[in-house]
Symmetry: C2
Amino acid sequence: MSAKPAPAANLRIGDVARLVGTTPRTIRYYEEIGLLPEAPARPSGRHRVYSEAEVERLREVMRLKDLLGVSLEELKTLLAAEDARAEVRAQLRREDVDSNRRQELLNEALGHIDRQLSLVRRRAGELSRLEAELSETRKRVRRKMRELDAQAGATFPPRALEATGETKL
Amino acid sequence: MSAKPAPAANLRIGDVARLVGTTPRTIRYYEEIGLLPEAPARPSGRHRVYSEAEVERLREVMRLKDLLGVSLEELKTLLAAEDARAEVRAQLRREDVDSNRRQELLNEALGHIDRQLSLVRRRAGELSRLEAELSETRKRVRRKMRELDAQAGATFPPRALEATGETKL
DNA sequence: CGTGATCCTTACGTTCACGTCAATTTGCCA
DNA sequence: TGGCAAATTGACGTGAACGTAAGGATCACG
């Protein structure tokens, strides 16, 4: 009867690696440098066990690493922010924290988010400028091609539109 | 009387490095691996000389490297595309190339541009999704803060809006 | 034409982010 | 209760992208 929100299937490191598209070594390495939490209270020597939540976390880590292009060290501080927010959520669910403390926590979280946001926005902006430039160049090339085609069409019988080279757009 | 489109001030490697925010070593390295053209016909041992155009090129290289997050090797192939396009422009300016060849060149250029575009678009898309998610989270936090603030306002005299924490928006 | 700043090449060093190997252990299942 | 696949720790290896140091040569300037 109890809800089954997260199956939390007990996964092993190899499963997790396959799920997110990496290797066990990488996961252990991330643990080593503190990017992922060392499975708490695991008797050294025993196999690591992961839940779906940890898989998601790892996915997020890899996504940020790829998209933001930061070092694992920088990423660690960014993730500290995520963790702080998790802390906030946990604390907020409890009733025994006073208003002032809550405000503090929220304000902190906001700061972290804003740091990430400005980072992301800057990169997103630069990327879309690059995209615009490329599109513009593309248009110019296409125009040239049409011009040449028209010219040829005057000399030879108009060829059926062949190999327009459009990739689905 | 001749136009002065590019000052082409003869720059040395240190100047270039400062201009683009890198080091001489990096520039030499990029030459080594063929990412930048070895200054053609420079008697080995003499100082390298650069023009404004090369500075721009280097800026572009570093921009792509940063934004696309690709290896220098991958970047080399992407830049080969740029060069191909430069070739096209040069060839097109000359009259002694026939239509078919022109079409070929343009079509090739188009292919290169499309490869870059799809790469850029994918990343841009992912980044803006990330941005949206962050914005959403931010909004939720802000809402929580306002709620708490209202609650406090009911208990204590309403405080003047202090430290709203907004960073210019 | 001297001289100090900058550059040249060569070569070895370094950091990051893992890969790989080895010797054991652990975990799961017939 | 075997037995075998997968995991564990530890150590060393590796490729990419430069940094750094050494010993000279070159350049701009006075």
